[in-house]
């Protein structure tokens, strides 16, 4: 995520400096034009189109009538959507905090200059190279009470062992979190490890001289220095939360019942399977509003304000 400002080339009205600037900037501007057009037409255009359709009664094909907020009142009376919304909050909070904690601990562990560092790094990062579909199917098998962990432990002689979260309505969403953590923690580790490696060695020496315990250095000195890396990790993880779809489809298909439904799946099902464009786009619009209201303050602080200062 980065903003690129394109200043319109000013007219070449003599003056070698301006001319040179135009000469160097013009190709860049021309090269960026298609991207700018795509962003405007495809992204922004489709967003507006989606919002517009959410105020219509469209079913299979888009229809440009006006039904006001009818789709939204249907949406908020729909228990599947409400379950989806609360699930994404549970998943988002646990997934992001969990990835950060586990990722940080793993990064600290590797940062101790242990033997076989390359091997550990690969092992921890490996889950990230799997698609969510593979992750979901693997964890589905592993957690299935009749095939996976529960059966394994029972076969070893512990007859009363029960671990049925995957098929338990109240616990199933947490199995999705576990699979998500397994998938995403390695990436967080890699990002934070890069940050740890960038910490000035002299800081460590100074802390040693002062006799500060290592854990204290990590929490009070190193962690604040890692702020940009943490922010990057959070942004990457957040996009994973918003688009959470394939993991759920592969692992539980939203079940048992509607216990693990998520908003993205609600939108997809209503747009493409149920011929209900109106309700689907209303749900998509709610997702958009939520994301924008979370991201807007952050984007403002990080990009808009500093740029304002320079100019």
């Amino acid at each position: 995520m980065d903003t690129i400002s394109i200043r319109a080339p000013s007219m070449p009205s003599g003056g070698t400096k301006t001319q040179r600037r135009v000469k160097t900037r013009l190709p860049a501007a021309v090269a960026l034009l298609p991207t700018a057009l795509i962003v405007l037409v495809v992204y922004i255009g489709c967003m507006l189109w989606t919002v517009r359709l959410s105020f219509t009664s469209s079913t299979l094909l888009p229809k440009l009538d006006w039904v006001g907020l009818a789709q939204y009142s249907r949406l908020f009376a729909n228990d599947r959507f409400l379950t989806s919304a609360s699930n994404i909050v549970i998943f988002g909070a646990l997934f992001i905090s969990g990835c950060l904690v586990i990722g940080f601990l793993l990064a600290v562990f590797i940062d101790q200059n242990i033997r076989g560092e390359g091997l550990f790094r690969t092992v921890f990062l490996y889950p990230y190279s799997m698609s969510f579909v593979v992750t979901g199917v693997a964890w589905q098998w592993f957690l299935n009470p009749g095939l996976g962990l529960q059966k394994l432990v029972r076969d070893m002689g512990f007859e009363s062992f029960t671990f049925d979260w995957l098929v338990n309505q109240r616990m199933a969403i947490y199995t999705i979190v576990v699979a998500g953590l397994w998938h995403g923690a390695g990436l967080t580790m890699a990002i934070l490890l890069a940050g740890l490696r960038g910490v000035d060695k002299d800081l460590w020496k100074a802390a040693k001289v002062d006799g500060i315990p290592t854990w204290r250095v990590y929490t009070s000195v190193v962690l604040p220095l890692l702020r940009p890396m943490v922010v990057t990790a959070v942004v990457l993880l957040t996009t994973g939360v918003v688009k959470l779809y394939d993991l759920v489809v592969a692992m539980t298909l939203g079940g048992p019942g509607i216990a693990t439904e998520v908003p993205a799946k609600f939108v997809m099902d209503h747009l493409f399977e149920r011929n209900n464009i109106g309700l689907g786009t209303a749900a998509a619009t709610i997702m958009l509003i939520t994301v924008v209201s979370i991201l807007a303050p952050w984007v403002y602080i990080r990009y808009v304000r500093p740029q304002g200062r320079h100019a």
């Binding site: 079913t59 939203g254 399977e273 209900n276």
Partner: protein, 412 residues
């Protein structure tokens, strides 16, 4: 003569020869989503018959029904349609008909007496404004119960004939440590089981009122509540590993003697066949209910509209091949369905297919499937309600009925 002209003359002559060859050969591009082993073997029957008749079959198989339909519809709208394209019997091609994108085949239908030889629900689902706009090729029964003959013999039980009986013998089997019902615990299969209970216990009229006319009156009848409660009792008859399971894994539980019964469409026969089992021996098939009503759907082919005379002739030839009695028989043997022509002799097919044919001989037993009766908007909302009820043992029948009422209201 420059090099350039010579080259283009050459290209032109090649193109001419090639295209005239194509004309003589009647090249047909067929778009479908029959990609599994059994399915592609069955579509090969049509391909071979068409080749024998002097045509060239260009197979365009796209995995996944929704993907294939999207691809095909986009090509039709874009003016570059395939010669022939698959749909499910039902509402999927409604808008293609209303936009004049597909050809009517009523002349062939009249000549072949389709209205007489095909079951009425299939005819009604294919005819629009009095004309056939698609060629039905098979009939799938959706509410079959497959059972393991050995388990029932060992337990000294008869396969149940009604749903109350089924719950009773299910409890007995459960006490013996057998999974009474193998269920693929995904919302659409849970919904399929519910429909089998509705048509089997509630009857064909209740099924049509619920999925077809969608008037809330049907929900208020005591019989409906009884049906819903019966369905609720069946929650205890599946194993804890059911949620999320694929339908073929559920079928496998019956094949491997772990489960006694399995509700599914007749396409599940392919799984038994692949495991080397045959109908009537290792497994049996029956329709549960006071009177055995069969919920039927199937597949059709539509012929995209074209002005090209050669393409029209090719399409005519394809229709002939699809409904030829010999290819009907062979195709449906491999597909697991039964011939759409009720006049085909099915004595060479398996016992389940023969049973299917015998049930459908009486028009009163033919019940059109949800795909034919309901718009996807409503069936989706129903599916949400059914999966919530099925997976939450604490949910009452009244709460479930309340959910169906609001699904009906929202879907209009």
């Amino acid at each position: 003569m420059s090099m350039k002209t010579r080259v283009s003359a050459y290209t032109l002559s090649v193109a001419l020869i090639w295209s005239s060859g194509a004309l003589a050969q009647q090249k047909a591009e067929v778009l479908h989503w029959w990609t599994s082993a059994g399915e592609s073997a069955s579509v090969k029957v049509f391909a071979d018959q068409f080749t024998k008749a002097g045509g060239t079959w260009v197979d365009n198989a796209i995995a996944g029904g929704a993907n294939a339909r999207t691809a095909g519809i986009n090509r039709m709208v874009g003016g570059n349609p395939p010669t022939m394209m698959q749909f499910n019997t039902g509402k999927q091609f409604d808008e293609l008909v209303s936009n004049d994108l597909v050809r009517d085949v009523d002349a062939q239908a009249k000549a072949g007496k389709w209205r007489e030889i095909m079951p009425k629900p299939i005819v009604d689902a294919t005819v629009r404004e009095g004309k056939f706009f698609a060629v039905p090729v098979n009939i799938h029964g959706q509410n079959w119960m497959f059972y393991n003959t050995k388990i029932f013999a060992d337990a000294d039980l008869e396969p149940p004939k009604t749903f109350p009986e089924l719950v009773e013998s299910g409890e007995k089997l459960k006490a013996k440590g057998i999974i009474p019902i193998a269920l693929g615990g995904q919302p659409n299969w849970e919904h399929n089981l519910f429909r089998a209970v509705v048509v089997g216990h509630g009857g064909a009229d209740m099924f049509r009122q619920l999925y077809g006319t969608r008037k809330p009156d049907v929900l208020k009848s005591p019989k409906f509540k009884e049906t819903v409660e019966l369905f609720g009792k069946m929650r205890g008859l599946v194993d804890p590993g059911s949620p999320g399971r694929n339908w073929n894994d559920a079928t496998a539980l019956v094949i491997t003697n772990k489960a006694a019964m399995h509700f599914n469409g007749d396409w599940a026969k392919g799984e038994f066949l692949a495991a080397g089992q045959s109908a009537g021996k290792e497994y049996g098939c029956t329709v549960v209910g006071q009177e055995p009503k069969l919920v039927i759907g199937g597949d059709v082919f539509v012929l995209p509209a074209t002005k090209d005379k050669a393409a029209l002739a090719t399409q005519d030839k394809l229709v002939e091949v699809l409904l030829d009695p010999a290819s009907q028989l062979e195709f449906n043997k491999k597909k697991g369905s039964i011939p759409v022509r009720m006049d085909v002799d099915v004595s060479s097919m398996d016992v389940c297919a023969q049973k299917s044919h015998a049930i459908l001989k009486d028009p009163a037993n033919q019940v059109e499937s949800m795909e034919i009766l309901s718009p996807p908007n409503f069936s989706g909302a129903m599916q949400d309600a059914v999966t919530q009820y099925w997976n939450n043992p604490n949910m009452s029948a009244d709460a479930f009925i309340e959910k169906i009422t609001s699904a009906m209201r929202d879907a209009g």
